[in-house]
């Protein structure tokens, strides 16, 4: 899931914060502004669809297993298609890749919306498939946009431009997950036209399909001449796309094997990889269990799921800012242990708090604001605790990996 995926790289925030001087200059460049708006809109609505999908699946089947499948559908394409899509995009016209990928996502989202008009429980497999396809198409947009940025800004503006790209990534997650989707699902009324009911989910997905088209329009409004590679050396013939993609896949396979034997021999590195994966899986699991916490534990409407997501997200971001100071004093093993204990505390407190609330006020136990605040604090602790596991493990992994020192230096600056 992108929101969690990016949160795992939380400590890029400090680097981002240092280079926010040139944003206004960047916004004055019309073509860059159009590209940025396309990124902001497309990423926000992509995150909103992921949130809406979780709630939709919960409303159809009330099954955490099926929600887990949905989480897998929108998170796995990043790994399956991320690298080959990068190779493909590198050889293609970036402008075309961006507008075509947005048009395709608009089409798939529209089909998704139309399917919602039918018997939803019978359409589950198709809904999963369309989610997978949308996420897979998105893997082509992001690298195309990333490589289009240097074509639209001057060399000295590249750093703030890339920082803005990362900040927008995070803002889009917050707006998509915490604001857009929950508010739209709560407030959009069900409309009946020609004996067909168009509920909030249909309207949200239809609006998202339209917004993908807006993104395609924004990209098309950038002149073709504006997106030309600088210092392009056309005299060197590049290998054809198929052989290059196959080469990259084979290269990845052999690198994986070499990497695995390298890790196995270095126990600290193996531990760091396991801890990092553990934190990543936990982030996905929080996304999966959030509807169950809201509906089955707190007995509240599923759309209040943002109450669970938001404090955890705030905790992740704040944790990544404050952690480096603590981590240096405590050392890696203690920091990770504190993180694990924080996670134990948060997961243990969640059911205990509800039991306590039921004991104090058996009738209206789940409507009291104190309970929601306590749940929010638990999720905040979970977010911060995840950083305590995630960041030291990631730092250790980079320190113990060849060429990792460069990355660590960049993170320290």
């Amino acid at each position: 899931m992108p929101v969690y995926e990016h949160a795992r790289q939380g400590y890029g925030i400090m680097a981002i914060a240092q280079s926010n001087k040139g944003f206004l200059t960047l916004f004055k460049k019309r073509n860059f502004l159009r590209l940025w708006l396309a990124q902001l809109i497309s990423m926000t609505i992509f995150n909103a669809t992921n949130y809406a999908l979780i709630i939709l699946i919960d409303s159809i089947v009330h099954s955490a297993l099926m929600i887990g499948l949905a989480v897998i559908c929108f998170s796995v394409p990043a790994v399956l298609f991320g690298a080959p899509a990068g190779v493909f995009v590198d050889r293609m016209d970036k402008r075309r890749v961006m507008w075509v990928s947005n048009c395709l996502r608009a089409l798939v989202t529209l089909v998704f919306a139309v399917l919602l008009l039918a018997n939803r429980s019978g359409m589950l497999v198709l809904l999963y498939l369309l989610t997978f396809i949308t996420s897979a198409i998105g893997q082509f947009f992001t690298p195309a946009e990333g490589s289009a940025i240097p074509m639209l800004v001057d060399e000295d503006e590249l750093m703030p431009a890339l920082s803005l790209f990362n900040i927008t990534f995070m803002i889009s997650q917050a707006v998509g997950y915490v604001l857009l989707a929950p508010i739209a699902i709560s407030l959009l009324p069900t409309i009946t036209l020609f004996h067909i009911q168009f509920d909030a989910y249909f309207q949200l997905y239809a609006a998202i399909a339209f917004l993908y088209l807006v993104c395609a329009g924004l990209i098309l409004s950038i002149p073709r001449s504006g997106l030309v590679k600088r210092n392009e050396n056309k005299s060197e013939p590049a290998p054809d796309l198929t052989s290059q993609t196959l080469g990259i896949i084979n290269n990845m396979k052999s690198e994986m094997q070499q990497g695995w034997s390298f890790i196995r021999e270095r126990k600290s590195l193996l531990l760091a990889v396991i801890q990092l994966s553990f934190a990543g899986v936990l982030i996905l699991v929080i996304g999966q269990i959030a509807p169950s916490i809201v509906t089955h534990l707190l007995l509240l409407p599923v759309n209040l799921m943002a109450l669970v997501f938001a404090p955890a997200g705030v905790g992740l971001v704040l944790g990544s800012i404050i952690l480096p100071r603590f981590a240096r004093r405590l050392g890696k093993p203690r920091t990770v242990l504190i993180g694990n204990l924080g996670l134990v505390l948060a997961t243990l407190l969640l059911p205990c708090i509800t039991l306590f609330a039921q004991w104090i006020n058996p009738r209206g136990w789940n409507t009291g604001p104190l309970l929601l605040v306590a749940i929010g604090i638990c999720m905040f602790i979970a977010g911060v605790a995840l950083d305590f596991v995630n960041i030291p493990a990631q730092t250790a992994m980079q320190e113990l990996t060849p060429n990792g020192s460069k990355v660590v230096c960049w993170l320290c600056n």
């Binding site: 297993l65 099926m66 998170s75 990889v273 093993p333």
Partner: protein, 83 residues
């Protein structure tokens, strides 16, 4: 290395997510939260045990060892990279 970590993490995430989903459906969320809490605690204890058994210092006994390994890995990668 990051790519390998991502592959491992995704490979692990699928069975874990599915089994946690199934457990929530069968046992109810509160029991699964207790189970998760116990699992995280066990993982934390195992991490400390593993860290003490294989301290970082032993891994980085000499910077030469790491540099040599890095060079070896880079040499292995060099011919297969397509620019």
């Amino acid at each position: 290395m990051l790519a390998l970590q991502l592959v491992l993490y995704n490979a692990w995430s699928i069975p874990i997510i599915l089994s946690i989903g199934a457990l929530i459906d069968i046992l109810h969320i509160d029991r699964v939260l207790y189970l998760m809490s116990a699992s995280i605690l066990l993982f934390g204890i195992w991490s400390v045990y593993y860290e003490r058994k294989h301290p970082l210092a032993r891994q980085m006994q000499s910077s030469e060892e790491l540099t040599a390994a890095a060079k070896q890995l880079l040499e292995l990668n060099q011919p297969q990279t397509i620019d």
